[in-house]
Symmetry: C2
Subunit: 196 residues, 2 copies
């Protein structure tokens, strides 16, 4: 509703603006976004320092217009050689990948890439904590799966093993990640139980 | 010299090709490239898992041509919120930034950004090892400076302190990083002396 002065009522424009903000329910945001919000909260609360790595891009051509920012005109996506997130928590190096599945009964290993496994194995060997955060979207449940449990299934796959990890296994041996108002994917709470 | 068949002599084209390869002397490559070569060596030797973070880019427009790779047509450089390198070494989280200076007598603090200091302070508080690798290019000398020594100079700056760290201070209190045939910037050797 517009007032004679041409401005929207404050009430209405507030409501409109609110639409583009996160609504703090557990729906609508991707797992990755939820984790980034969590990381920001952890950082501000002095709890952990964890960042998402930028998407690797091969830059081929850049334009430098006068009086404005450089524009990348040609670039290509590169294969990452690591996982998406790493940082430091309670003096330990932590490193993880986040994956969502629409499946209710298992987590398909086709979601994982060999280079991610190689990287997590190296991290594990060097004394870091490597893990996977898995969200079963239809169940709205999120789990932390320590990397050695993932490696078991991954390595069995090429020996005629199954191509997915059963939900029941993850439910039993993984650590369920609680939803927390500010730490939307409160993986630090799960790490506390598993590693500290 | 071209032969009648229109091909260059093998000898000559070898010599030409060799130019674009690293020649394993300590010259010609940037500090950052030398560190990336070192990281690759550390990874393959099972010594450490350290990677350079990709340049953060805001992608605006992507073209998906048929039968070929996606092309980023418009993107912009974003400000990084961390340092360039991080990883795990001997079970510790390590995090660092690499800087070269053409100066012989001091390292100008203008090479460092506030967000890098903030990040290194957070890492240090969480029990990670944060440091700076500084190369005095004209001297061909590389040093590891533990972040607390950097913080001292950084924080003094705004209290009327100097705007650079004297070479003599870095030479005395930093750890000189040896050149090693494969680990061209052998910072792990310097970490061993300082932290383990």
């Amino acid at each position: 509703m517009n007032y004679p002065n041409g401005k929207r009522s404050t009430k209405q424009s507030h409501a409109l603006r609110r639409k583009s903000k996160p609504d703090f329910s557990n729906r609508g945001m991707s797992l990755e976004e939820d984790i980034s919000v969590t990381n920001e909260y952890y950082l501000n609360a002095g709890k952990a320092v964890v960042h998402k790595k930028p998407t690797p891009v091969q830059i081929v051509n850049v334009d430098y217009p006068k009086r404005s920012a450089a524009v990348i005109k040609e670039a290509y996506f590169k294969q990452a050689s690591t996982t998406d997130f790493n940082g430091v928590y309670r003096s330990r190096y932590i490193d993880f990948e986040a994956k969502e599945t629409k499946n209710k009964t298992s987590f398909p290993l086709s979601n994982v890439h060999q280079h991610q496994i190689d990287h997590m194995k190296a991290v594990h060997q060097h004394g870091g904590i490597a893990f996977m955060i898995i969200k079963f979207t239809p169940l709205d449940e999120v789990y932390l799966l320590p990397s050695p449990l993932l490696f078991e299934y991954w390595d069995e796959q090429s020996n005629g093993g199954r191509k997915s990890i059963p939900y029941s296994f993850i439910h039993e041996h993984g650590e369920k990640i609680p939803f927390h108002y500010q730490a939307r994917v409160d993986y630090a709470a799960a790490l506390d139980k598993l590693y500290f």
